[in-house]
Symmetry: C2
Subunit: 315 residues, 2 copies
């Protein structure tokens, strides 16, 4: 395994001055409904509204000056683009984000708001990768991959360090959703080093490439997800899958209907705004409550960037 | 002045084991937009989703056993009813909440969820007060008034103690919305005892009874508010008004349109769910930005109990 707990600890020291130490949220009513004790690490209240600020910040603050001066690049239609734009702005580094030409205006505005350039491309993965490769070759930019990179995994793992420090006594389970696998792999390394808790990933049934890969013992390189949880439509990366096999005890699935129900429950009971992706672990608990009865369960709420004009429960 | 800072400190010791120490939220983008540094005390993340938990808890935990055994009563169509029901349940005391018969089902459910009885009455103030008086006479219940009571003022003031402790350096202004005046009067006493900060109340232009009263030097006993900020439709209480004259430096007004705009900004930038009432201080800053330029401004976010099926920006 390449990323170690020490890497995550060092990442935490590196990024701590720049990120929020986000709070743990609890609801007695929710605990009663779920028949377990839930601790929510509110990374939706993180800088740029998502845990992605951690990995991007770790990557950018690990770079040497001459690479920084040339600039950084990534492709993203979501939170990682905003996170890299934000982190680059802290060090005055040029940043370009390759975005599909159908990306919503609100996401473009977020990236542009942090001072990054946007390069539009056709809305498919080959076009995105080709645009990034061209920019690296022509401009000398450094790639900051959204999840399949050691510094990103180490950065995302820092949320679990805080979580286990903040929840004063032991927890039985730590859960995080699985998209590209940056968060769950960093979380797995940190939790296994710090505690005896089980580490569960959670995925929508309609985006279960990690679940299938873990069953087969081999990563799915291609998969077509179809879920409301837009943050989880990525396919698990190679580095991420390798770490997950070592540190993740199980992947739990949930239905699309439950995701919306769990999302609304979090809004109603915790009074915070979470993306559909955030609701996937709670939805998985609701779909298989038996194994959580009486347990102490920590969930990482990943992000809160939602189009407030279109809520899934409003017509 | 009857309630002292010492009362608020004692209230804080009394209720601290039962309430959340809610976090301070910040957004760099919001600071840039407003051209000042904003600190939001997130009482929407408090127990029962509102600061009202503080005052109700202080009142109930100050009562002797024999009064508690007889029970407590209040009238409320909003957060105070849920807060009293919750606080009474912590001490096993019977609780009755008089509610107007047109109160939304979600509010009835919240009160009933904490095990309180609901007594329905006609939806007007005389009917509510008559029902409460009858219950006190017939059942021997103790009244816990929503705002015009010393223990409530002391309890609500505890949020400001935490706020000033949590924001490590001095702030220039502390702002809170004004409804019945429980929060602003407790806040005024605490802030004036602890710091040199100005204390500003904020009111909707369409519910400006406190503003008018402060102008005239006399409390308005009757006033018909008409605002989306449903938590601020109460008229300032007598005790509250007396404290406000001593401790509140100014009351600022804002338009209804700004309230919705500010509410949406808080949802978007801070990723938390706030009621329209919460947005009134930020709306007042947006309506008169000059006096806040470059200042450090703390705002108490009061509550997050919103009907998620009806958002003011969705047609």
């Amino acid at each position: 395994m390449k990323v170690t707990f020490k890497d995550i600890q060092q990442a935490h020291q590196r990024i701590a001055p720049h990120i929020h130490r986000t709070p743990i949220l609890q609801s007695q009513l929710l605990n009663r409904m779920m028949d377990c004790e839930l601790f929510f690490k509110a990374e939706n209240l993180q800088k740029i509204g998502a845990f992605k600020a951690r990995g991007a910040c770790n990557a950018v603050f690990s770079m040497d000056k001459s690479s920084l001066q040339k600039g950084v690049v990534t492709h993203s239609s979501g939170n990682h683009g905003a996170a890299l734009a934000w982190a680059a702005s802290l060090r005055g580094a040029p940043c370009t984000v390759v975005m599909p030409n159908n990306a919503p205006q609100v996401k473009r505005d977020a990236v542009a708001g942090y001072g990054a350039s946007i390069e539009l491309c056709e809305p498919n993965m080959p076009a995105r990768e080709e645009a990034v490769t061209r920019l690296i070759q022509q401009q000398g930019y450094s790639l900051v991959h959204p999840y399949d990179a050691d510094l990103i995994i180490a950065g995302q793992g820092t949320a679990a360090i805080e979580l286990l420090e903040q929840v004063e006594s032991e927890v039985d389970v730590v859960m995080a959703p699985v998209g590209g696998g940056g968060l769950i792999s960093g979380t797995g390394i940190a939790v296994k080093a710090m505690s005896k808790a089980l580490v569960f990933g959670a995925e929508p049934e309609q985006a279960k490439d990690a679940w299938l890969g873990m069953q087969r013992g081999e990563r799915l390189a291609e998969y077509s997800p179809n879920t409301i949880a837009d943050g989880l439509r990525a396919t698990v990366g190679a580095r991420n899958f390798a770490v997950m096999r070592e540190t993740v005890d199980d992947i739990l699935l949930c239905s699309e209907e439950r995701i919306v129900e769990a999302m609304r429950l979090i809004w109603t009971r915790l009074k915070v705004i979470v993306e559909p992706s955030c609701a996937v672990p709670l939805a998985a608990i609701m779909d298989q409550p038996e194994q959580f009865k009486g347990k102490r369960v920590a969930i990482i709420l990943t992000g809160g960037n939602v189009d407030l004009d279109r809520l899934p429960w409003i017509g």
